[in-house]
């Protein structure tokens, strides 16, 4: 029987993989993809909790759709930023982007 905890474990794994990608990937595009993973982990949480704890309501589902919309906008902005910095630096390697260094 698949219960709430399975979904939560799946979401945690997805979130952990995403976090690892955000912190360790050198490529800016890969980091963006990792962020998508983390957002989707949150979406799974929303849906699962909505389904198991308050089946009569749809708040969780609505929030998931919200997150998908915001994530789409975020990817658009993020890709635009990456394109812009690529044109400046001819690189998408985050190691090259150390403008804030002392």
């Amino acid at each position: 029987m698949v219960g709430l905890s399975h979904y939560l474990i799946l979401a945690s794994l997805l979130f952990g993989i995403g976090l690892y990608g955000v912190l360790s990937k050198r490529s800016a595009v890969a980091v963006l993809m990792s962020i998508e993973l983390m957002l989707n982990a949150v979406n799974i949480n929303f849906i699962a909790i909505n389904r198991f704890l308050q089946p009569a309501q749809t708040t969780g589902q609505l929030f998931a759709i919200f997150v998908i919309v915001v994530a789409a906008a975020e990817v658009a902005v993020g890709l635009a930023l990456i394109l812009s910095i690529y044109r400046l630096r001819k690189s998408v390697d985050l190691n090259d982007f150390n403008l804030m260094k002392w």
Binding site: L23, V31, N98, L99, M100, K101, W102
Partner: protein, 624 residues
């Protein structure tokens, strides 16, 4: 006729009005300014005369009082008002007479001075302040006017501010007075705290029933600081001789007759407070007695005509304070009155001499002026005789009363001291007279008698110096003591032997001066050489100024240097050190930043974990 007392509040106001008008509009016309000032003080004189006539036709102990609230807050209420009783009526008369005569005299003395208008403005302001002080009915008001006369004194000492010495003297007078006034103010606040009122009448009712000496003694001591500063008692006497830098009429009015007597007047006013603390009374008597002999001894060897008179004033003020201290309040006030007349006469006479000799003040550059300035000479001699205490001139009666008080009060030491001072007084005054007006030397000078506008006041003051003493003599059944009385005042029957002894003492002083300086039977140069040590000590005024200068250099400058060090090293050091620490820390922490977004995200995540763990721990411990 309406009650003249209802107009008494105008007495101080009229000179103030003149001051304001001159200061604001009339200063471009010196003659009009002088006229207005004279008119104001003249009207004040007439009003005072009417007030005095009215009060002295009543009974002793009667008084008129009027007051309005001036400052009102919880715990402190200060009124402004008028208190007319025999004591203040007497002072009103003395102040207005001397002020009027001095202002008339100044017409001649200050003629052609470019600052004539401001001179008269200051004179008016002084007259107003002094009269306000005299009619005060509470300590708050007297303090305000006390400071105002100090301010006017400062302005008039420094009137010729082009001279460096005048500026320095003005500052010295002001600062020295501040020391005394600070104690005075503390005493007043103390009174307000303990008794809840500053009104003389209410205090007079409450103080006698108050027996906590631990409170009364500090109050008396602090209040006495005011007279010590204003009446130039030791150790705050140093400003008065230097104050002679001002114009001579100013010295006559402020630094001989009126303002310096304010301290004595205050002791008389607050006599009920001082009298309730015998210990402080003893101290007052000793301070006064010491000042009297201390200043008289300095006066013996001074060479500046005004400085001799200044030290004489110090000495006589000491006499008055001593009289207060031995409980002879009436005698002290009596001496204040007679001294005001003859000392202002002496100063104005000295001014006449200085004026005639074009600002020459060294007595050794004068001589044989009697032929050239007979009028000045003889009025001066009258003043000196009165000061020396030769009967029947005024000084004899008042000085005698003080000596009598000391003798019958059992203060044998003070009596002997007073007699010695009387001898010294006679000697130094006639040393001055023989050297300046007579003598055998004939220095080159083109002295001429002063104009009537200057000799007129001399004549009036000379007649007052002769007759004013009778007010307190046995010839009029001591009219003075009948009015200026107080239940606590010591009063004694005249004693013929004391009168004779004091006259003989004064005569012997004059005789000695005659032998040394007129006949020159004993050479004063050889005396000077034989007692060179004492002579130098006296000539340098016991080195008090030098001691103060050293103390200031050593203590004040030393403390200042130390505090500067504390400020620079410790306080600045702490502040700068903190800033430097923060800066260094920041410098070090810079190296932890590598500019990588991912590093920052890692830190953020780490922080989030810490916060979450802490929050969870808190929740679980709360549940458990």
């Amino acid at each position: 006729m309406t009650n003249i007392f209802h107009s008494a509040w105008m007495i101080p106001l009229l000179p103030f009005l003149a001051f304001a008008l001159i200061g604001l509009w009339l200063h471009r016309w010196p003659k009009i300014s002088a006229g207005l000032s004279l008119a104001a003080i003249g009207s004040a004189f007439i009003l005072s005369l009417l007030v005095a006539l009215k009060i002295f036709s009543g009974h002793p102990g009667e008084f008129y009082k009027m007051s309005v609230h001036w400052l009102n807050m919880p715990g402190l209420q200060v009124d402004m008002g008028v208190l007319i009783d025999p004591l203040s009526a007497l002072m009103l008369m003395v102040v207005t007479i001397v002020a009027l005569l001095v202002q008339i005299y100044s017409l001649g003395y200050m003629k052609g001075d470019p600052g004539l208008a401001s001179y008269y403005a200051y004179q008016s302001a002084f007259a107003g302040s002094m009269l306000g002080l005299v009619v005060s009915n509470n300590f708050g008001q007297i303090f305000v006017f006390w400071e105002l006369v100090g301010l006017c004194s400062y302005l008039l000492i420094g009137f010729w501010f082009g001279k460096n010495s005048a500026r320095e003297a003005a500052k010295k007078a002001f600062i020295t007075n501040r020391i005394g006034d600070f104690g005075f103010l503390l005493g007043i606040l103390f009174l307000a705290i303990v008794f809840g009122t500053l009104d003389y009448g209410e205090l007079a009712a409450r103080v006698p029933g108050y027996h906590n000496l631990a409170v009364l003694i500090p109050i008396s001591l602090l209040l006495f600081c005011g007279p010590v500063g204003k009446s130039a008692q030791f150790p705050l006497h140093v400003w008065l001789p230097d104050a002679m830098e001002g114009p001579t009429p100013v010295s006559a009015l402020i630094h001989a007759a009126t303002m310096v007597a304010a301290g004595v007047y205050l002791i008389a006013r607050a006599f009920f407070i001082f009298n309730s603390t015998p210990q402080v009374m003893t101290l007052i008597a000793m301070v006064g007695g010491f000042t009297a002999i201390f200043a008289a001894s300095i006066a013996l060897v001074q060479n500046d005509i005004k400085r001799i008179l200044a030290y004489s004033t110090l000495s006589q003020l000491g006499y008055m304070v001593m009289a207060m201290g031995i409980g002879a309040m009436t005698a002290g006030m009596f001496h204040l009155m007679t001294h005001a007349f003859f000392k202002s006469l002496l100063f104005l006479g000295a001014g006449s001499v200085i004026h005639a000799l074009h600002d020459e003040q060294d007595i050794w550059n004068m001589g044989q002026l009697a032929k050239k300035m007979p009028f000045t000479t003889w009025t001066f001699v009258v003043g000196a005789l009165a000061l020396a205490g030769i009967p029947p001139l005024s000084g004899f009666w008042s000085k005698d009363e003080i000596l009598l008080g000391a003798y019958t009060g059992g203060h044998m030491g003070l009596y002997l001291l007073g007699s010695l001072v009387a001898f010294m007084t006679a000697f130094y005054m006639f040393r001055l007279i023989f050297v300046v007006f007579f003598g055998s030397r004939t220095p080159e000078n083109h002295a001429h008698e002063s104009s009537p506008v200057m000799t007129g006041p001399l004549l009036i003051l000379a007649s007052l110096s002769v007759v004013s003493g009778f007010a307190g003599s046995s010839l009029t059944d001591n009219w003075f003591a009948y009015w200026i009385t107080n239940s606590a005042v010591v009063h004694h029957e005249p004693n013929m032997s004391i009168m004779v002894i004091s006259s003989l003492i004064a005569l012997s002083g004059i005789l000695l001066a005659w032998i040394v300086y007129q006949k020159e039977l004993i050479s004063h140069q050889s005396l000077r050489q034989r007692f060179a040590g004492i002579y130098q000590l006296l000539l340098h005024k016991y080195y008090i100024d030098e001691i103060y200068a050293w103390l200031i250099k050593f203590l004040v400058d030393g403390v200042a240097h130390f505090l500067e060090w504390v400020d620079l090293r410790i306080i600045n050091g702490a502040v700068n050190g903190l800033a430097k620490c923060t800066g260094r820390l920041g410098q070090g922490l810079r190296y932890s930043e590598d500019g990588q977004v991912q590093t920052y995200a890692l830190y953020m995540f780490g922080g989030l974990i810490v916060v979450l763990v802490t929050a969870l721990c808190a929740v679980f411990t709360a549940l458990a």
